[in-house]
């Protein structure tokens, strides 16, 4: 069994031009942690995740490399943070993608899939064609667990 058999071949995807607000709605309504972003040809560009949303909400001085390690001196309320996120709602998701998350290929073995999830501390991994870079599907941890618990009985 390989990634091909584990993946959901029709995941919810975003275009880089979709807005942050759209992405946030998808994340909230489907309770998804990671949304793959593809271009017009269906090529995988990166992932917009709940972590992208957290980064968007926080000031740059906090999230940047070597930025503030501790902001316990701030007193910003949830309203303030909500406003910050709202102000950025119309920005395209394209510039907030994480590109260094692990990806798999259709022929990646199951054990490698699980190892990637464990090492990357991620619950879903995109499956991408090696040559065309097309997004073929996405494997959520739940799909793997289901196969482990249910289908092997």
């Amino acid at each position: 069994m390989t990634a091909q058999n584990l993946m959901n071949p029709n995941p919810v995807t975003l275009r880089p031009t979709d807005t942050v607000a759209t992405a946030a709605t998808h994340i909230l309504t489907h309770r998804l942690r990671h949304l793959p972003v593809v271009d017009d040809q269906g090529r995988y560009l990166g992932t917009f995740s709940i972590y992208s949303l957290l980064r968007l909400t926080l000031p740059k001085a906090v999230i940047m490399e070597e930025g503030l390690r501790d902001v316990s001196f701030t007193t910003e309320t949830i309203d303030g943070l909500a406003r910050r996120l709202r102000e950025r709602g119309s920005e395209p998701v394209g510039q907030w993608l994480s590109q260094d998350d692990p990806v798999m290929h259709p022929d990646t073995p199951t054990m490698e899939v699980m190892l990637l999830m464990l090492r990357g501390r991620t619950t879903s991994v995109p499956v991408v064609d090696q040559h065309s870079n097309r997004l073929e599907g996405i494997i959520a941890f739940w799909d793997v667990l289901e196969k482990l618990l249910v289908e092997t009985r």
Partner: protein, 442 residues
């Protein structure tokens, strides 16, 4: 036999000169890490027979190395206490979160901190808070970052321990912490004030923030920035004692490296008291890991290379040439050293430059009535080399650190854009230094 000895020494002078020029060129090209370049060149000085190992080690100024390392350990521990963030927020609130007021206050905090601790650490810790404040105020961070670059280099010039050139000059000449304060601090105060003037005219008067945004900064609780009060007290006590040691070094008959290393050891002892052996190892290792070993080994290699060149008599020849050029006139020599070191330090690393200039200036002693007569030249070298670093983005390492932050904050500082503003302001500070040197010494 005599002849061949002469030839060998002329040969080694050439060899040393060639090695020296190549070292400079490769360091400037930035293609190879500067510590590697300096150590390879130092090794070649020995292997090719310009120096033997004993002479090479004599060339290393361990007082400079010790002072740098000791202060780096002290700073590595102190930064964890959150005191730098505290100072930045506290100063911002003192001026009611007024944008121009904050710029002035943050610049002063940067200058004073840089005078006592190294510039890179200072900006590394103060820039993120500043960026948070400018983000809250919705003002352009550029003038703040610009001013911080200048403040860190200007502040660093004021004391013996503020900037590596001063550490090297102090160590090589025996000039004390108090000498530096007495001779340099007055002109530094003037330069700091005058530098803020163009920054105000260009950007400062246009900085505006709404009442609500200012209110958000006013609501910061600076005391929450202190992550560990016990640690803070320990660090401030040790830093206080170290500065006391520097001030009274002459009476205590102690050299700077002893004071700094002993301070580092005492602080390590204090923070590790009562911890298990395992935890102690972890803490000590973490503190040592923060020492900038690249800088330290760069110094080691460079001292050997410069000593190699010096031992062949080449620098003496150059010193004589320079004196011939100025006709043995002290004022002319001081002005040439001040301006050339300023302009060169804006383009190249000031550390190798100062390391070379020190033996060169020392060799001028006979022409100016002994070591005492060289005083104005040391101050010219210090002011030129430290302040010159402001001229371009690559003039000092603190500049590059600030530029890195600006880039990551999405407000990149462009090389030419920076130079066009900074170079004239740097020249202004050198002009003030010239007037000061004439007024006080020449």
């Amino acid at each position: 036999m005599h002849d061949s000895g002469e030839i060998a020494s002329a040969g080694s002078m050439w060899l040393a000169a060639v090695l020296f020029v190549i070292t400079y060129a490769v360091v400037m090209s930035e293609r190879v890490n500067r510590a590697i370049v300096a150590l390879v060149a130092a090794g070649l000085m020995i292997i090719l027979g310009v120096l033997n190992q004993e002479a090479a080690i004599r060339g290393i100024d361990f007082n400079t190395i010790g002072l740098l390392t000791g202060m780096m350990v002290i700073v590595a521990i102190t930064r964890q206490s959150g005191v730098f963030q505290f100072l930045a927020i506290w100063s911002a609130k003192k001026v009611n979160a007024n944008p121009w007021g904050i710029l002035v206050m943050i610049s002063l905090v940067t200058a004073v901190t840089s005078a006592f601790l190294d510039n890179v650490t200072t900006v590394l810790l103060v820039v993120p808070v500043t960026l948070l404040i400018t983000e809250e105020l919705k003002v352009n961070p550029y003038p703040y970052l610009f001013s911080m670059i200048f403040s860190s280099n200007i502040g660093g010039t004021a004391t013996l321990i503020g900037d590596p050139p001063n550490i090297m000059i102090g160590s090589a000449t025996g000039l004390t912490f108090n000498d530096f304060g007495y001779h340099l601090a007055p002109v530094i105060l003037v330069i700091m004030a005058v530098t803020l003037l163009p920054i105000y005219l260009i950007w400062g008067r246009k900085l505006k923030a709404t009442v609500e945004d200012r209110q958000r900064v006013m609501q910061f609780n600076e005391f929450e920035a202190i992550t560990d009060w016990r640690l803070l007290k320990q660090c401030l006590s040790v830093i206080g004692l170290v500065v006391f040691g520097f001030i009274f070094a002459k009476w205590l008959r102690l050299e700077a490296a002893t004071i700094a290393i002993f301070g580092a050891a005492a602080l390590l002892l204090l923070v590790n008291l009562g911890k298990s052996a395992d935890e102690q190892s972890k803490h000590v290792l973490a503190a040592f890991n923060e020492v900038e070993w690249i800088t330290i080994f760069f110094f080691v290699g460079l001292f050997i290379v410069v000593h190699g060149v010096d031992s062949t008599g080449l620098l003496k020849v150059l010193a004589e040439k320079m004196i011939a050029l100025t006709g043995g006139n002290l004022s002319a020599t001081a002005v040439i050293i001040l301006w050339s070191s300023a302009i060169l330090s804006a383009i190249i690393d000031n550390i190798p430059f100062v390391a070379t200039m020190i033996p060169l200036i020392k060799a001028m002693a006979p022409s100016f009535g002994g070591p005492e007569g060289l005083m104005p030249l040391w101050w010219a070298l210090s002011l030129g080399a430290c302040l010159g670093g402001n001229g371009t983005l690559i003039g000092a390492s603190a500049n590059l650190v600030v530029a890195g932050f600006a880039e990551r904050a999405g407000q990149p500082i462009r090389f030419m854009q920076y130079t066009l503003m900074a170079f004239p302001i740097m020249l202004l500070s050198i002009a003030i230094s010239t007037v000061y040197l004439f007024w006080r010494y020449l």
